[in-house]
């Protein structure tokens, strides 16, 4: 299979040369040689499953850590060449590693990266039409809905929950809706943050310290002997577990469930419109 692929490429290169088209870097920086080729998309799916699906999920629909890639436009560049570059070079400041740098195998060849690009294109959906009112969504976020008490957006807001600046562009609408309506169903996994050796899942902690002070907050880190968390007043704490009168962690999110009563459908749509603006709507 590989031989055939390379053969095709050399034919392509030869044809290019014969036509005297000045495109010496036809692969890495030029056009996708396989654009729209269903066979190549299928090969790309094999590579995707082996190299990408662990974070981005089956069918590129997003997983625990990686964004839903069926969405358009892509946050880090939406042309085939830009997607190629994202796969090959990774995205600095995020958990997305450069091709071949995961300590798993030797990474993908250029042809294989193009196959993956072709595969991703083949599963893309039309941009979701979110009809909500972005301006009202922003008002809700920073006002009445209380989101900003715990969530940062474009540098403004709280620190108890995940920063949501990138969440709207990285996550499917379904995921965002689920996170609002049923926040405890799947806790966030630090997706929008720079790579951490441990992933903050925003578990809830309740602690009674040695002097009897009670704290509630979200877990930042933990080992067998110590616990680190941020409390509801955004104070950082690190305790020896043995020094505590009591402590408890829970996967019941500290975030209230925004049901229809708290957030009617219309307001939900407005909030989504604000979230998917990815900061373009601005915190202002």
């Amino acid at each position: 299979m590989k031989v055939r692929t390379r053969f095709c490429i050399s034919i392509l290169a030869l044809a290019t040369w014969l036509c005297l088209v000045p495109a010496p870097e036809v692969l890495a920086q030029g056009k996708n040689p396989y654009a729209g080729d269903a066979k190549m998309a299928r090969l790309g799916e094999f590579e995707f499953r082996a190299n990408c699906a662990f974070c981005h999920g089956l069918g590129a629909r997003g997983g625990g850590r990686g964004p839903d890639l069926t969405r358009t436009p892509k946050k880090h560049g939406d042309s085939d060449a830009e997607i190629f570059s994202t796969i090959n070079n990774g995205v600095s400041g995020t958990a997305m590693p450069p091709n071949g740098a995961t300590q798993q195998g030797v990474g993908m060849t250029e042809e294989e990266v193009w196959q993956v690009v072709t595969y991703i294109r083949s599963v893309e959906k039309k941009p979701s039409t979110i009809t909500g009112d972005l301006k009202h969504g922003r008002e809700l976020f920073y006002g009445q809905a209380g989101c900003a008490t715990c969530h940062m957006f474009s540098g403004k807001g709280g620190r108890l929950g995940p920063d949501l600046t990138a969440a709207g562009t990285a996550r499917s609408t379904d995921y965002l809706v689920e996170s609002l309506r049923k926040p405890s169903k799947r806790l966030a996994q630090g997706i929008s943050e720079a790579m951490k050796e441990f992933s903050a899942e925003y578990e809830t902690v309740n602690v009674v310290s040695g002097d009897g002070t009670k704290y509630q907050g979200t877990l930042l880190n933990e080992d067998s002997f110590t616990i680190q968390f941020i409390d509801t007043r955004e104070q950082l704490h690190s305790f020896d577990k043995a020094s505590l009168k009591a402590w408890q962690k829970s996967r019941e999110s500290i975030m209230p469930a925004y049901d229809e009563k708290m957030l009617p459908e219309k307001d939900l749509q407005d909030l989504l419109a604000f979230l998917v603006s990815g900061g373009a709507g601005g915190a202002k």
Partner: protein, 527 residues
């Protein structure tokens, strides 16, 4: 004057140490009788990772303190179990480095860095688990599939032989095992559609004396357990160090998953000898018997856990806590299964066959959309060493409680490229994953006690006559527990995850415990 004299004495000790550093076959056979030394991967041929040293014990373990730290200055997982012979420590680091240190101070004596090609194919990190030693040489398997001998005094290469073409996905990550005058190694590469094997090389010359293919070829018994030509790319690597029973002149090796790991279609049959225990004649490489733990595996349940030899009530046993979640007790004279009990959450098997062996449930096969199965792809345990303590008669193993979603899809074989037949994912369950150090009573298969880790852990376990067990965790702690009860006596934060199995040794009558964590080797002792 006093200082000068002390210096003179320690110099004399160092010189006498080096002079005494010739390791003979006889010394290796009696490794347990010189507990100050750690002369092979698991401490001795039994694979028990148990030491008779007892200066550090339940009475004083809370006074342990760091003694020295050696930095490899290389990234990635640091998996070595160092050797110590007469005051000199020999270890390996990431990216195929090797080093010799003064075991009392950590000061380097020599370092070797292999110049690796850019296109090597380690599946799971540029790792190496350690060396073997005989005579004046240490032996190492490399990521570009060579076996090499280094001069133990200088680190200079004595011989270097290419074992197989690394570009097809082959590599060495294990610590070799020396038996008599042979250096035994097993190949890695179960993620690439290799054909696994175990090799033996002449320790003096590097000449290959035999090769045992872990997948039988046409005409050999077992080849019929593979569909069509699938045996050629069927995996079954042997990437963890074996053990050796001198009484019967048998060496025990374990093998890994069939390839592709998450897809059974195209390789119908039991797929011998993947995921098996092999009893080989070390002189010839001839198979005496085998026992297959997981038939026709579709969940990457490598059986590459050290097969531990234990003698109990006149019975000669092999104990193995398998990656598939079952604890097996096997008669090592004939390979007959005595008992298999789960020691972690298991959903891949619901029944046992006529010989008591857990068999795969049909519904646990990976599906195109994914199917949740326990244990997950990293297993209920993995390559990290367990230990058996003859004092408590308990078997201690690092268990991992993690289930995964296994999916499958057809995948063309492409030499040298990952060949999984799809992928696995952490499942979305609200129940978090965790790890545990579990003490199993081999007589019943029951868990006597456990120490829970906050997350699944990659540290092995050491037990000592000081009535202690030593282990580490993913959060960077090195932990000492009372062997009988599991009570934690002391812990130390190393600053990064432990991906190794601890060992212990003594120099000048003083006991040390060593463990690799992060990119550094830590040693501890009493003040």
């Amino acid at each position: 004057m006093k200082i000068k004299m002390a210096a003179g004495i320690s110099l004399a000790l160092i010189f006498s140490s080096i002079a005494a550093a010739q390791v003979t076959t006889q010394r290796l056979l009696n490794a347990g009788q010189e507990p100050q030394n750690w002369m092979m991967y698991s401490g001795d041929y039994s694979g028990r990772r148990y030491s008779a040293l007892q200066e550090i014990n339940v009475e004083n373990a809370d006074k342990l303190a760091p003694k020295w730290v050696y930095q490899t200055m290389a990234g990635g997982k640091f998996e070595t179990t160092p050797l110590v012979v007469d005051g000199i420590m020999y270890g390996t680091g990431q990216d195929d480095r090797a080093f010799a240190l003064d075991a009392r101070t950590g000061r380097p004596i020599w370092q070797y860095q292999r110049n690796l090609p850019g296109d090597i194919r380690p599946c799971c990190g540029r790792v190496n688990r350690g060396l073997a030693i005989l005579g004046g040489k240490v032996f190492m398997g490399t990521l570009d599939s060579h076996v090499i001998a280094l001069d133990a005094k200088t680190g200079n290469v004595v011989w270097d032989v290419a074992s197989v073409d690394y570009t097809k996905g082959y590599s060495y990550t294990l610590a070799p095992l020396v038996i008599k005058n042979l250096v035994l190694v097993g190949i890695s590469g179960g993620e690439y559609g290799i054909r696994g094997f175990i090799d033996a090389y002449d320790a003096n010359t590097g000449e290959r004396k035999w090769r045992f293919y872990t997948i039988p070829g046409p005409g050999e018994p077992g080849n019929e357990t593979w569909e069509g030509e699938s045996w050629k790319i069927g995996g079954a690597p042997a990437w963890i160090t074996g053990t050796y029973d001198v009484e019967t002149n048998t060496t025990f090796w374990t093998t890994g998953n069939p390839s592709p790991s998450n897809r059974g279609e195209g390789r119908a049959g039991d797929n011998l000898y993947s995921n098996s225990l092999l009893a080989l004649d070390p002189d010839t490489g001839k198979l005496k018997w085998y026992f297959q733990f997981t038939q026709h595996d579709e969940h990457d349940y490598d059986a590459t856990q050290v097969p531990v030899m234990v003698d109990e009530d006149g019975k000669k046993l092999i104990l193995q806590a398998n990656r598939n979640g079952f604890f097996y007790v096997i008669d090592r004279s004939n390979g007959k299964l005595i008992r298999a009990e789960s020691y972690a959450k298991v959903s891949w098997s619901k029944e046992k066959d006529s010989i008591g062996r857990p068999t795969p449930a049909k519904e646990s096969s990976p599906t195109p959309e994914g199917n949740k199965v326990c244990p997950g792809a990293a297993g209920a345990t993995n390559w990290m060493s367990p230990t058996y303590d003859p004092q408590t008669k308990l078997f201690y193993v690092t268990a991992r409680e993690q289930c995964d979603v296994f999916s499958t899809a057809p995948q063309p074989y492409d030499a040298g490229h990952a060949y999984y037949g799809s992928a696995y994912f952490p499942n979305d369950d609200a129940a978090p994953f965790y790890g545990a150090l579990r003490a199993i009573d081999p007589a019943s298969g029951k868990i006597k006690w456990e120490w829970k880790h906050p997350s699944p852990t990659w540290s092995g376990v050491l037990s000592t006559a000081g009535r202690l067990v030593f282990t580490g965790d993913a959060e960077g702690n090195f932990i000492v527990l009372e062997a009988a009860s599991g009570k934690v006596l002391w812990h130390f934060q190393c600053g990064a995850s432990v991906y190794s199995s601890p060992m212990t040794y003594a120099v000048d009558g003083k006991q040390y415990v060593a463990v690799a964590a992060g990119t550094a080797l830590f040693t501890f002792g009493l003040p």
